[in-house]
């Protein structure tokens, strides 16, 4: 990491972050897909550390400077977690530079930022102790296409003068690295998204959700009446299959904290659902698409087993209600003319969800893992998909596989990035 280049009195502040982060994520991979391992991650740029700097560092108990952020820049959404220290002493308050204070106030006193940034207040983790500091963890998201505006804002708020390290993961950490440097005068500490994801999941699960369980499952997923959400104890998490559904999908087999592999991925993910919905229904937000879907009937769009065989296809043990061909009824002109936008949105949702369930199930079988944890922002406010995943996994595996979900759905990568920041200190 390049040393920060400007900002008057900055020389007095420690600038040691980069090298620490350079230790880089340690992990083993068994997947053959994992190719070159060395090309990513920040490169060490040791600047001759002076004795005085080291002294000051130890005084600060190996903690990075505030503000503490973790950033995950995905294909569609940017996820930002922010640790708000609540144990600020009067002395600290006094010392706190104006810029830092204004960022803290801005983030914590608002729930929406600009026209598209949103703080998921309901996810806020309270009274968390991180690196010896007590505080609240805030969860913020905004669309990736607003990334330039975000960098612009950082620049306007003189973020670079704080000399903090911005730990970022997700593809955007690479894609926008140059913009951060040129527009925001900020050097990103780039982190691998899968490392961050796993780190984040394990951490959040371990601290729990404000006294509640982070992990949950659906009991009786095959029974609409009796189906209910129940906490799940993920104390001994390994091995687990982690299915991250963002714009696309990544599937990881996790055997320990540091031993995982990316099993496979599919391009049919949240982006596909939303993208197809936009084309088919003219909707413009994910929320709108989900809302439409919740009022639609996919069986008008899909061809079911019973549409072909009049009932169950017993020869193969296929129930009549199973979808034989997604959008199969849309081969007929009359049926195309008789479906609503809601029906199409629902069918799109069901198609994508079932497909993810199917691929996840096959991976679980191939990897011999029976717990499948689904995360990612596709699942946000998306009970239809979560229940369907729980149902499909249970039904097609004859009860052998369990679908698990986590409350903080899409934020684990960002949390992992924040943890890397702290770990590196």
């Amino acid at each position: 990491m390049e040393p920060l280049r400007n900002g008057g009195g900055a020389e007095e502040k420690p600038r040691r972050r980069g090298a620490a982060a350079d230790a880089g994520p340690q992990r083993r991979r068994s997947s053959a897909a994992a190719g070159v391992d060395s090309a990513t991650g920040p490169q060490p740029h040791e600047r001759g550390g002076s004795a005085s700097r080291q002294r000051r560092d130890s005084v600060r108990k190996n903690r990075p400077l505030f503000p503490w952020f973790g950033l995950d820049i995905g294909g569609t959404l940017v996820k930002l977690v922010y640790f708000e220290p609540k144990d600020i002493t009067a002395e600290e308050e006094e010392e706190e530079v104006e810029n830092l204070k204004s960022i803290r106030k801005y983030l914590t006193s608002n729930v929406a930022y600009g026209s598209t940034g949103i703080r998921d207040v309901h996810l806020e983790l309270k009274d968390l102790t991180l690196c010896g500091r007590k505080g609240n963890l805030h969860f913020i998201r905004f669309p990736t296409h607003d990334m330039p505006a975000f960098i612009q804002m950082g620049s306007e708020k003189h973020f670079s003068s704080l000399h903090t390290t911005l730990c970022a993961t997700g593809g955007g950490a690479y894609k926008f690295e140059q913009d951060f440097r040129t527009m925001g005068d900020l050097q990103l500490c780039k982190l691998d998204e899968l490392d961050c994801l796993i780190k984040g999941v394990l951490y959040i699960d371990s601290v729990g959700f404000n006294g509640h369980s982070e992990c949950y499952y659906f009991e009786n997923p095959t029974d609409a009446e009796r189906c209910q959400k129940l906490p799940f104890n993920l104390e001994n998490p390994y091995p687990l299959l982690l299915v991250n559904i963002g714009s696309g999908v990544s599937i990881l087999a996790v055997y320990s904290k540091e031993n995982y592999k990316r099993v496979t991925g599919t391009s049919l993910g949240g982006g596909t659902f939303f993208g197809l919905c936009c084309l088919l229904t003219g909707c413009s937000t994910f929320e709108e698409a989900l809302e439409m879907a919740s009022h639609g009937d996919s069986t008008k769009v899909d061809k079911l087993v019973r549409d072909i065989y009049g009932g169950d296809y017993e020869r193969f043990g296929l129930p009549g209600w199973a979808v034989a061909s997604s959008f199969g009824n849309m081969m007929s002109k009359e049926k195309r003319e008789s479906v609503s936008k809601e029906d199409l949105a629902k069918a799109t949702l069901i198609t994508i969800t079932n497909n993810i369930g199917s691929i996840a199930r096959m991976c679980a079988l191939n990897e011999n893992i029976n717990r499948v944890v689904f995360v990612g922002n596709f699942l946000r406010i998306n009970t239809i998909s979560m229940r369907l995943l729980a149902y499909a996994l249970d039904y097609w595996s004859k009860g052998q596989l369990k679908a698990l979900f986590l409350e903080h759905e899409g934020y684990f990568g960002a949390v992992g990035a924040l943890l890397e920041l702290l770990d590196s200190a």
Binding site: G269, G271, L276, L279, A324, S326
Partner: protein
């Protein structure tokens, strides 16, 4: 398929695609008079009809005269009679559902056989057309399970049709890479991509299991595609897709990362999220781009699932079928890509030439169990089959307008089951043919032209072989036309009948000759030559016997090669014979290295298997003296000749007569026959070439029983066009005279050069 211009008896008119058939129906629904065991597979847009029929055709038979007390000097050696023979043939016809009524009417009018009471039906449309079929044909519709039929059909084609299976490689010189039939076809995965996807694991003839499926299939492409692009037809959607740019619609890895995701080795061009760029209400996307993106999305998804299932069940052969695949290079390409990507090259996506017929074949087999079709071997009749993609507008736009979209497959029942030669070193990698003409454009051009140029002569000879027939000229012309058209088809679609080879060109010609009742145009020539050669036999033997041992070995081999020069199939020989200068041209200078075989000391071979070539001088003055020498060395001999006629090759029945006559003259042959040390067998083939993976079962049994340890293959067709590179478990000798200057050039020699390839397998 060619249009011969005759009006169909029931088709209303010509050219109109409405409810008429542009081809004369009797060209399509052939041999209906004796048809039985009907089966029909009605899909979403295509109907496939199958029936079993018998074909009456002429065969040339030879019969030995009773020579006792007659002047044999002036009598022909044996009698040739043309007889009617009845053989079994399977007919499969594929046509668009719009023709179904017309077709049923035609069948009704021509169905003389009244035994048939039931028609087996399968496919999604069987329900819809049940009443129509029952009303029109007066047959009871008996429905069969779709998947069971599909698997039965698949097993049948995998077992019976050489080069049924191919891999598709769009960006290589050879798009279609055909595979030889593996001796063991099980286990395999069949992925049928219809409106949905079914994944079936097939373990044995009767054991298969539906192991999974996906709802994202052809129906999704069609239905979703129709919604997105307002294009109604499946074919048109594929056309759109082939013109689009998916990168305008899909979010790629590089759209997220700015480049590749290097940690995972994911290329920047990989799709991160299908339709990930259309997540906006205010941008228009082109139909082509959306169709392309959809095609990629669906193909990739199917490929991924197929790989996951293949991995779980530890299988590496995946056959793809269903309407999504059928005859569409676009989808074969995307599926192949996906399988390669997801399996990292460990699994191969395979396709079937007759994929569209599987259901109909299976339904037919269900209904024909009492005829035991699985007990026989069947052979594709090239004369009556349309060939791969005959109706594909992508490949052959002319065809569609010319003949509608009829496609046919005919399979002849072979008299006896065919099996591998037990002496093949590795049956699973054996490839009979020496040059792959699908691969080698230069060679293809040469041979197609060669066969074209020879065609007039062949037709003339065919006509001349039946001087008493009033319609011989007319039939010869029809033969000429048919074979000419086949050659033209092969120029455009070299992959039409599997790998194009000299053998397939020769076989197709034989099939076409048979088609027009020219079962054996060379019968009289062979008769005459056999007669002449027999007269010389004794003097040849005498002169050989007068030689010393070493000299005699040379003379025997020379004789074997000299005899082989007589070949009416080779144009150069026909020309030379006309000019009586043949022997002076033969470059028969035996190389000393040959003596490794000829002069070998040590114990004689236990048993030699000889594949004979031509009638006349070749068999009588070349092969027999050699056989006689082997016998006197103490080596048993199995002499294998063709079951049916091909060019001037000696047939099994001719060989019986010839041997009988030689035995009468020669005590060595006589006692060998009596003591069963000389055995005559048939190859099971009627080809001038030799496929060692399809030989008569009786031959294979005998080869094993007699512990055969030497195989001698003689002649261009059997030892050069085929089997030149064949590896055997025992010693082998391949010999021929190159009677083709182009081939001589290719092999680095001169015309009438000698090939003498003696191989000893390494221990």
């Amino acid at each position: 398929m060619y249009v011969c211009g005759r009006g169909g008896s029931t088709s209303g008119g010509h050219g109109s695609l409405d409810k008429s058939i542009t081809l004369p129906p009797d060209e399509i629904f052939r041999n209906l008079e004796n048809a039985k065991r009907f089966a029909i597979d009605i899909g979403g847009s295509l109907t496939k009809l199958a029936y079993y029929s018998t074909v009456q055709h002429k065969v040339a038979r030879v019969r030995s005269f009773d020579h006792s007390g007659k002047d044999i000097e002036n009598e022909p050696l044996y009698e040739i009679s043309v007889q009617e023979e009845i053989t079994a043939r399977l007919h499969f016809i594929k046509f668009e559902n719009t023709y179904i009524e017309t077709c049923l009417d035609f069948i009704k009018d021509h169905l003389v056989n009244t035994e048939t009471k039931v028609i087996k039906a399968t496919g999604g449309g069987a329900y819809k057309f049940k009443d129509l079929i029952e009303k029109k044909l007066g047959l009871k519709v008996d429905k069969e399970d779709v998947m069971t039929c599909l698997i039965k059909g698949c097993n049948f084609v995998l077992r019976n049709i050489p080069h049924e299976v191919f891999a598709y490689q769009k960006d290589s010189d050879t798009e279609f890479r055909f595979q030889m039939n593996h001796p063991n076809i099980f286990p395999y995965l069949l992925v049928n991509i219809g409106s949905g996807v079914s994944i079936v694991k097939v373990e044995t003839e009767d054991k298969f299991e539906w192991i999974g499926g996906s709802s994202i299939g052809g129906g999704t492409f069609w239905g979703l595609g129709a919604l997105l692009t307002k294009t109604k037809k499946f074919d048109e959607l594929l056309q759109l897709a082939s013109k689009g740019q998916h990168t305008n619609v899909d979010m790629l890895v590089k759209d997220v990362y700015g480049g590749a995701y290097q940690t995972l080795g994911l290329s920047g061009n990989l799709i991160a999220s299908s339709f990930g760029k259309s997540t906006t209400a205010d941008k228009e996307f082109s139909k082509e781009d959306m169709a392309k993106s959809l095609l990629h999305m669906i193909s990739n998804d199917i490929g991924q699932l197929a790989c996951l299932y293949a991995k779980l069940h530890n299988l590496d052969k995946i056959y793809f079928g269903g309407f999504f695949i059928r005859g569409h290079p676009v989808t074969m390409r995307t599926i192949t890509y996906s399988i390669n990507f997801f399996s990292k090259g460990e699994v191969q996506a395979l396709f079937l030439r007759h994929e569209g017929y599987l259901g109909a074949i299976g339904a037919f087999l269900k209904g024909a169990e009492q005829d035991n079709p699985n007990q026989y071997s069947w052979g594709e009749n090239y004369a009556g089959s349309s060939g791969l993609m005959s109706t594909s507008p992508d490949v052959y736009p002319m065809q569609r307008t010319r003949s509608g979209t009829f496609d046919m497959l005919e399979m002849d029942r072979l008299e006896r089951p065919l099996v591998n030669l037990p002496l093949l070193k590795d049956p699973s990698t054996y490839i009979p043919d020496t040059v792959d003409l699908t691969d080698d454009a230069m060679a293809r051009k040469y041979w197609l032209t060669c066969f074209e140029e020879a065609l007039d002569g062949v037709a003339k000879r065919a006509a001349a072989s039946q001087p008493d027939s009033i319609d011989a000229l007319e039939r010869a012309e029809k033969f000429r036309q048919k074979y000419w058209n086949k050659l033209q088809t092969l120029r455009q679609q070299p992959f039409a009948y599997g790998t194009l080879t000299v053998r397939s060109l020769l076989d197709t010609r034989e099939h076409c000759l048979n088609e027009f009742n020219f079962p054996d145009p060379y019968s009289k020539v062979k008769q005459k030559e056999n007669g002449i050669a027999l007269k010389c036999f004794q003097s040849v033997i005498e002169s050989l016997d007068s030689l010393g041992w070493e000299e005699r070995q040379f003379a025997l081999v020379k004789g074997l090669l000299a005899g082989n020069v007589f070949d009416w199939g080779a144009k150069a020989v026909s020309d030379s014979c006309k000019e009586h200068k043949l022997f002076t041209e033969m470059n028969c200078e035996l190389n000393p290295e040959y003596t490794g075989f000829l002069l070998q000391e040590g114990p004689p071979h236990k048993c030699a298997l000889i594949f004979a070539d031509n009638s006349g001088i070749d068999i009588i003055l070349g092969v027999f003296p050699f056989v006689r020498e082997l016998l006197s060395r103490g080596t048993e001999v199995i002499l294998a000749c063709n079951s049916g006629p091909a060019l001037n090759d000696v047939t099994y029945s001719e060989s019986l007569i010839v041997t009988e006559r030689i035995a009468a003259m020669d005590p060595v042959i006589q006692s060998a026959l009596r003591e069963e040390k000389l055995l005559l067998v048939q190859t099971g083939s009627s080809s001038p070439c030799l496929d060692l993976s399809r030989l008569d079962k009786g031959l294979a049994v005998l080869v094993r029983e007699r512990k055969t340890d030497l195989v001698i293959i003689e002649g261009m067709g059997r030892a050069i066009h085929t089997n030149y590179y064949a590896a055997l478990k025992c010693e082998s000798l391949k010999l021929a005279v190159i009677k083709n200057s182009w081939l001589a050039d290719r092999l680095g020699g001169k015309i009438f050069s000698v090939i003498f390839k003696y191989e000893v397998p390494c221990k």
